[in-house]
Symmetry: C3
Subunit: 342 residues, 3 copies
Amino acid sequence: MAKTNPGRFFEDYAVGQVLHHPVPRTVTNGERALYHALYPSRHALYSSDEFARSCGLPQSPVDDLAAFHVVFGKTVPDVSLNAVANLGYAEGRWLGPVHPGDTLRSESEVIGLKQNSNGKTGVVWVRTKGLNQREEVVIEYVRWVMVRKSNLDAPAPETVIPELNKALSAQDLVVPKGLDFSNYNFLQAGETHRWGDYAIGETIDHVAGVTVEEAEHMLATRLWQNTAKVHFDLTFRPEGRLIYGGHVISMARALSYNGLANAQMIVGLNGGAHANPCFAGQTIKAWSEVLDKADTDVPGVGAIRLRLVANNGGAPFELKSEDGRYLPQVLLDLDVWALMPK
Amino acid sequence: MAKTNPGRFFEDYAVGQVLHHPVPRTVTNGERALYHALYPSRHALYSSDEFARSCGLPQSPVDDLAAFHVVFGKTVPDVSLNAVANLGYAEGRWLGPVHPGDTLRSESEVIGLKQNSNGKTGVVWVRTKGLNQREEVVIEYVRWVMVRKSNLDAPAPETVIPELNKALSAQDLVVPKGLDFSNYNFLQAGETHRWGDYAIGETIDHVAGVTVEEAEHMLATRLWQNTAKVHFDLTFRPEGRLIYGGHVISMARALSYNGLANAQMIVGLNGGAHANPCFAGQTIKAWSEVLDKADTDVPGVGAIRLRLVANNGGAPFELKSEDGRYLPQVLLDLDVWALMPK
Amino acid sequence: MAKTNPGRFFEDYAVGQVLHHPVPRTVTNGERALYHALYPSRHALYSSDEFARSCGLPQSPVDDLAAFHVVFGKTVPDVSLNAVANLGYAEGRWLGPVHPGDTLRSESEVIGLKQNSNGKTGVVWVRTKGLNQREEVVIEYVRWVMVRKSNLDAPAPETVIPELNKALSAQDLVVPKGLDFSNYNFLQAGETHRWGDYAIGETIDHVAGVTVEEAEHMLATRLWQNTAKVHFDLTFRPEGRLIYGGHVISMARALSYNGLANAQMIVGLNGGAHANPCFAGQTIKAWSEVLDKADTDVPGVGAIRLRLVANNGGAPFELKSEDGRYLPQVLLDLDVWALMPK
């Protein structure tokens, strides 16, 4: 019997199935430092334990996206090893901070299935949870991917398409326990713009760019224990190793510090598209648009909904062509909720 | 007087000599995270403190090979700075886990010498020990290298060739104190195959490959404070920086997770050959063969002897040509004992 | 209103101004491990907690240059984002060790201004302090840079050129509290040469070289949260990303272990010039010259003043041409005080 894991194919999924993803992972200050070496992150809450304490947290949490990548990475062998395409995200929420020393594991429930008309592939929807060592859910999100069939004769499952919110409402967001921005130090955070200074519809060019290198995206992707071979094996993909979409997300988020330094914590993921593939040698730049704003009942804390776009170079603020397709330089179109001092 | 260390030449060694290698090194969660960024490691015992505790250990140890690399790296300035070739390993044992915060140092005893007939080089055998801050030996192994003579007129030493075991017997292996696999969580570990499921002679293709990059092998090799200039200086070796053999070992071991996820701890090193040099741009793949199995008297713990082969791409399961020489794609042929749940 | 930080231009500075640089940063064992992966560092005091304790310190501090880079990195957005050239350093002192867990922030006072005769640029002198979470100054230094004017019509400020010492005197150096080299373990440190063995005027070739890679200098520069775009964006600088001068400093310092293994701690920075730009693909080598020696009143501790030169390959010990200009292979000419066992 073959002892290696071939991954799951479309016919291996059933609605209601729960996948317990191996391998649990303890995250430490080592991951924290590596995250800062890999991305130009400067958000003060994740940079300084002292700043985090001044905001009511016990110390700097592991970066919200680093925690996401750890949880996501665990799902790859079970969900996307044979995926043709990563189609979307929805209803993502950060339910509590992850601290150095915490151990994360992931589990996913299959919540939707739809075989494609070609009979060779299908779409699988999963709702994934990341849990810590106290069995607290710290992250949850829905993801859907197109997966190949291995046995083309396998019957098509009943089509189930889950109803997903286009965006989380502000009431769905969870503000970390203890967070309090009423004594927020704007000077240390690096920008004076507060929640009230941002207008819906406003766009921000984050200016700087980073030319990405093979060694860097592989270091990152391995750190999250993401095993998808397209990221690592040039013989498998001679046109170039495909960079993990999460690397682009983290790079764009870090670049967004310049103009959104006070959008401290990402707490909601409304959706996201990896519009075009990213390869080493490309230069990632980012821009944002304010999509919405909402108040919270936590002292000093407002919520801001942001479109975060990563480009392969080029000018900011252009997204789609007239036919509604993403422009070729667009790498990422992400829709998140973040917390900001009022 | 020159203040720099030229390294030792063949005539500088004498049987019975003990070399106290500088510089002691404290290993932390930083090294742990870097190890996971550099290699696609997923063995649960090293990934999760919780999993390690469920196996009777106080926390995840530093990866067994990372500990080996630290101990090995210290010997380079005294043993292999002027080495022409790294000829072999034998009788390697891991005698106790290394935990974050421990400080390692190395010492080696010269146990064999044989001048080559050309009069220009000779073979040096050393038995190296890695000790922690409590003076406990945590690793020991024999290594032999071919070293240049500096003074060709120096007399040949008496030839002493140590008797070395072709392989450790299972009784020689040390199971870490407290280790207990009787409540082993196969679901979290990622595979269901237990010790009893592996047959002597069985071969396993670990499938995935990693195309290696200059920056990565240099980060790794520096982290182990290995100073051999062939790994770092392109002007010294214009045909390409030679990748530290230990980088190939760790890459192959990490890839072997797929099919050997439960071969949790390496506790014995019977032998090993760096069959062909490895350079950046090559794609490392791995396959294994079960060479032997043995029981232990520790609850739930079996020992499995594995050949671990790293290839530069190509198909698995081919090792040598008819004349007994390694095929050109073979980078590594390693022979280890690992501990596995029964 | 634009929300992004355009950086300061020459006309934005005034003598006496104090710049409170965002973002505070907690440094941990993660940064420590990364420093050892990025540079071939072997100085025992920073490698081993046990060795550091044997020298009277509570544990290994964060490498003195890593602490410098963190403090320096914070100043970049406010001081050198629009700098044309980094002109010099003076009066740099390390006033106390930085330990894992400490949080650093930086502030700078403008101490000098001089508009250039072209009317388009000017020189800005700042005295920068790095402070820990207890508001103790751990590092201070003067730096001057040439900065562009944005508004060419802005009036020239009154010229103020600060008086700076060519070199710190030994009495200005601060020996870390508790440091005691009277039981110094030369065997573990790796070399037997003590303070008394070095003669003023002596030169040392550190022999080894490292060919630098894009991924590595970017990892380092991001880790210090240095945001200067010339280091990251190839589209901004198609002739090659300029490597952060601090990367060259750290590489040269680490290479200097071979011959100066006992020059354990850098405590003074008398001056320094980044003589020529450094790009990926260059091979950094280093040599040193003993410029001065001084005793201290601390048991077993002597001070040694060193010129540390980094070359892009080539032979050691050549610095300037007959017309007084740096030779094209010289990357760095640094002048430091270090502490050494007597």
